[in-house]
Amino acid sequence: MELPARTFRVTRADLIRYAGASGDFNPIHWSDRTATKVGLPGVIAHGMFTMALVGRAVAEWAGAPDAIVDYNVRFTRPVVVPDDDEGTEIEVTAKVREVTEDGLTRLDVTAVCGGEKVLSQARATVRTAR
């Protein structure tokens, strides 16, 4: 079963706000000068910001903000966020891999930005809605 796709727009302002909320002030997430110095095309989103957006999608699919019992991802490609008003977009899709007898649903999740997968082996286990 395929779950409805969700698209998240990500701008520089979102990264600054996430940096403040999470305490992750690594300059590759806000300084083009630093990002290009370490070989990146420009400022990139925090991997944990992408993981948080995908977690939101999963919780919304599950129908409860506290439904996720296990959640893991591998970060495969950076999400480059240009310094403009549009930013970039991350598209999240998922399909149900398994529904267990003890009321858990296992999802395989895909997150794509600019036509490339930015996560691999992204999996979430959620409690089936009460």
Binding site: F8, D14, R17, Y18, G20, A21, S22, G23, D24, V38, G47, M48, F49, M51, A52, L53, G55, R56, V58, A59, E60, A64, P65, D66, I68, V69, D70, Y71, N72, V73, R74, F75, Q121
Partner: protein
Amino acid sequence: MSLDPSFVGRTYPPTAPYQVGREKIREFASAIGAADPAHHDPAAARALGHQDVVAPPTFPIVLTLAASQQIIDDPDLGVDYSRVVHGDQRFAYTRPVVAGDELVCVSVIDDVSSRGGHGFLTTRTEVATAAGEPVVTVWSKLVVRGEG
């Protein structure tokens, strides 16, 4: 970057208790656009059976990033932080984090390896209440990129 495999199993001292605040959860939820009332309104959270607002699933990174810093900063292990890239991340929850929790992190080195000139470091952080109730286990795999 080659890391010493004899560090596998090393456990670091518990962190000072972190007081999970209602406003911090609201701030984090707002920053990721999580609008569910249970992240913002204590009454909505109580209706789901929680004592106060519920943190979004990746919120524990706020604590564990700081907790695993003591591993990254361990001079004996010798990680060059400017070369660290986030590889994998996992959260396994006993229950969600809620406002009012007082949480302590204990970090362990689960795995160390080197491959293709890069070092790989897997840390596991057990997050529990100050009273010892387990809340969430958090794994981070960090890649320490080799020179050139």
